[in-house]
Subunit: 563 residues, 2 copies
């Protein structure tokens, strides 16, 4: 343990890479050697709101430093193990408990808490690293015949228990080998990749297309979820993810031109068209299927000319959440194109941000006060316009005009640029806080404009029903018809069972208030129990009918999506 | 018969409204009292290319003036007729042959030819005019129990035999009563309507939302197919239509926020969200189902602020189809937003247009020649930008820049404005030419940029394999990944069977050349025989599985989509 260099010694943050084969090496976010600790300002808010003192930051508990022993029995028969080994070769499968645990756990708060406690529930029996789609075909066919469950692991960033294996079976780790470029078509502005290609590799290929793909221009994929660095292209598509720039580029589903799937009932590739009217489209039906219908083995995505020099940042402070949202709605309905990044924080998130960045009580704070932007009410909006230069400049100009009309006060592009630099690194902070028993979790939904404030109030009430809890909310994916709301809640709650009940009460609250169960996290097994009530049995039965057709033995990610 | 006032007497065009209850009253396009005859220039091209003389324009044949006799037997039992009458009332059903024929025939060339010949194949047994979704529920439930086929008629503009009733049964005429506004939500920018609302009523409501919907602003639906005046909102959605302004507003499928369906297996309404990540979406799965899964009973669509004053028209002439398409691709990939209307005509369509408008041989023609824009090579591009003012102006500016770079020559906005005025009326011309045995038909597909020229050449070759045939082609729906190609072919071919074989050879050609079987006409029964080869049996089997689930007795539009 190393002091992170703060003025006082409390708290000390753990800044050593996890031990090899430890639970912590599985639960820790991202790069083993990277850390991000709460700023002094943020810690101050946490102490204050969670009613904590320095005493709460003296002893770390459940850091998950213990080694994962090779103790978990394998329930696959020797014949089945041999059959699978014959397909991929000895070097591409593992029955080591550590590997099985690693490829079964996502990044939900429960995943992390259970790992800290050394628990190993619902893990797979075998991790297989298929080399190509031929391997996947052989594996799915074999598992179909032998009725062995098959799960798919892309980047492992699921926050919905999407990787759990309650019936054991096989987990296919796609990022090991199936992470390659298949083809790039500059004329059509499409790229085809294997599903296990990770975000940074994908974006790097496109940004450097002139050198790496012999292209005439540079490109971007336009998809930057917070998990960007540790999620895969295939994962984005099968879980219906959204990136931080989705307001312009579209959600993952909007970026998909074609997909190729291997299912127990056969394989198919949807044809590459810009659009088609040949009936309900398999290219749509398969999006969001989360491995329950089959395995995505290649995907063709739209790409966009990369024009980073044209980006224009903005940020505004508004006297209230209502006025910020009104401006957000007008912008989204303004018919001048959309900012790529576009975010509105509610009052609590804004106040926390002010303290995090040490702005509270400073000149800016006083100035805001003079402008009637009061703590507990004022809300931050920020964003970035992109695209062709005049387009990007005009988006910025229109945003400014609409914000001013709604009593927004321009804060320059500085806060946006500051946020941008750290935009993928916040999950690291969770590990630091978790070490002292402080939980951070998020739940999110989509909502129409009309229902936004009612839902926001309802869900906040549910979150705040737990005393000493921070609840920060933002909207970060905008459409002409509405937006998403992303709730971040921070509290101290040592018991996993208690946390689970708490989390469920929030999901209940979102559902009852008319929010979508998920805007971009997907369903997994976390939302699965709500799916029937949410969609109705008639709609669930259609999904079940597709599942039964493509996967008659029910081997594909059993229990995922609630199917 | 009335002389249309041309200088000579040949040809005389028929300009009298069809007789009541005649076949012609069914086959004639649009308003019974509206006519549009080929211009002298167009007629000159037709004579020249089809190798016709004035002798071919002296006698009209098969004008379909005969009365539809009440002769076609009804194959529904008395008990079934009584059961359905009990649901909707006597006044809302008809077994008259005329009505049954009228609500079974679309606007495919074969529909019209067979009506001219007085044929009555594949008509329904009964036309029912449901009053509301409760009626539809009762009818579908009754027909499911009694195994009676159910078909849906919206505006009747299908060009794919989508309305045929090869097994008889019931046709639901939705435009009679189920044509009402359900709700309008200005905050969410959505409108919910019954499916039988016709295009002009829908757009009029939105354009006049301030008076008619007590809105603060005026809106547009942004959807203007050529059939706009005689097609229904529901029809747009279930056949995956596209409007003339789709390059900006999106295709019908992109405009749908929520749908409510009645199926033999139950009813459901998808929830209104701007986006959702709750697994594969029924809102997508049902789009394009063409009545084969159930009956669409209400639909919620996106609307857009109506800003007609900001529209900017443009047209350009290019030295070749290749240079025009290159410019079209650069524009579609330009990241400054899209023109709303955007069209590129190939060389033959451009030449015909020049003659239609009497421009050939004139000053403009000579000027084009000087600029190297030669007949047989030069291609017309035109379009209209819309949206917020600076956005629309910038789109125009960028279009000009890209066109100039690709050797396009600006022809002002005049040709676009001229086209715009007549944009819904060309189908009237078909009737006039058909009266002299000249057939006009269209087939269309979508295609990626890379495959565009190869497909264009291949399909033209197939069309031109029939001697004395005009083949005009345009692209009119643009995406960053490709566009559509719309083939109009004009020839003299008196035999229906010969025409059918010819048409099939063109569909074969499109499919073999890698085009989508349909970009926006849908599948119906015309493309159905190609669906399995086109999509592959694995994909068709998924559609069949959904069909079997929602419609276990196979009563919903049997044979539609090839299901």
């Amino acid at each position: 343990m190393k002091n992170n260099g703060q003025d006082n010694d409390i708290p000390q943050w753990l800044e050593t890479a996890p031990k090899k084969n430890s639970f912590r090496s599985i639960l820790k976010w991202g790069d083993p050697k990277a850390f991000k600790n709460p700023s002094k300002g943020f810690l101050k808010v946490i102490k204050q709101e969670l009613n904590l003192t320095d005493n709460d930051f003296t002893t770390m508990e459940n850091i998950g430093d213990q080694r994962v022993e090779d103790s978990s029995p394998v329930y696959l028969s020797g014949a089945n193990l041999a059959g699978l080994e014959k397909i991929v070769g000895k070097e591409n499968l593992s029955i080591a408990t550590y590997d099985r645990l690693k490829y079964t756990k996502g990044k939900a708060m429960e995943d992390i808490m259970s790992l800290r406690l050394g628990q190993m529930k619902d893990i797979c029996d075998l991790v297989v690293h298929p080399r190509h789609k031929k391997d996947v075909k052989a594996i799915v066919s074999f598992c179909h015949d032998q009725k062995i469950p098959v799960h798919v692991y892309g980047g492992g960033s699921s926050v919905t228990f999407g990787l759990d294996c309650p019936r054991g079976g096989v987990t296919l780790a796609l990022s090991t080998h199936m992470n390659k470029l298949v083809s790039f078509n500059e004329t059509n502005q499409t790229i085809t990749v294997e599903p296990g290609m990770m975000g940074p590799v994908y974006e790097d290929l496109l940004n450097n297309a002139i050198e790496k793909l012999s292209a005439k221009k540079a490109y971007t994929g336009g998809h930057f979820p917070q998990s960007f660095e540790f999620s895969s292209v295939g994962g984005w598509v099968v879980t219906l993810g959204s990136g931080q720039a989705s307001s312009l580029y579209g959600d993952a589903a909007d970026l998909v031109i074609s997909q190729e799937y291997v299912t127990p009932k056969g394989s198919f590739k949807t044809i590459e068209y810009p659009a088609t009217a040949t009936g309900p489209k398999l290219n749509d039906i398969m999006k969001g299927s989360e491995g329950c219908f089959g395995v995505l083995v290649s995907v063709t995505m739209k790409v966009f000319e990369y024009l980073p020099d044209n980006a224009r940042q903005f940020s505004f402070i508004f006297p209230s959440f209502e006025s910020a949202v009104d401006a957000g709605r007008e912008i989204s309905q303004g018919r001048f194109g959309m900012p790529a990044i576009f975010r509105i924080s509610d009052a609590e998130e804004t106040d926390v941000a002010m303290q995090m960045y040490g702005l509270e009580g400073g000149i800016l704070d006083k100035f805001m006060g003079m402008k009637g932007m009061k703590k507990g009410r004022r809300c931050l909006m920020m964003g970035q316009s992109e695209g062709e230069k005049t387009f990007a400049v005009n988006v910025l100009r229109q945003v400014k005009k609409i914000c001013r009309k709604n009593k927004g006060f321009f804060l320059t592009g500085y806060p946006m640029r500051k946020w941008y630099k750290g935009r993928f690194s916040d999950p690291y902070m969770r590990d630091a806080l978790n070490d002292y028993g402080i939980l951070i979790d998020t739940l999110e939904c989509s909502v129409t404009w009309e229902n936004l404030h009612s839902l926001h109030k309802t869900v906040r009430r549910v979150v705040k029903a737990n005393p000493h809890t921070i609840c920060m909310t933002h909207a970060s994916h905008f459409y002409a018809q509405g937006t998403n709301l992303y709730f971040i809640f921070i509290t101290k709650m040592p018991e996993l069972a208690e946390f689970k009940t708490y989390q469920q009460s929030i999901i209940d609250g979102i559902e009852a208030a008319g929010g979508s169960l998920s805007h971009h996290h997907g369903v997994g097994r976390m939302m699965a129990p709500w799916m029937e009530r949410h969609l109705g049995c008639e709609q669930m039965d259609v999904l079940r009918a597709i599942k039964t057709h493509l996967d008659p033995n029910g081997i594909m990610n059993p229990g995922g999506l609630g199917l």
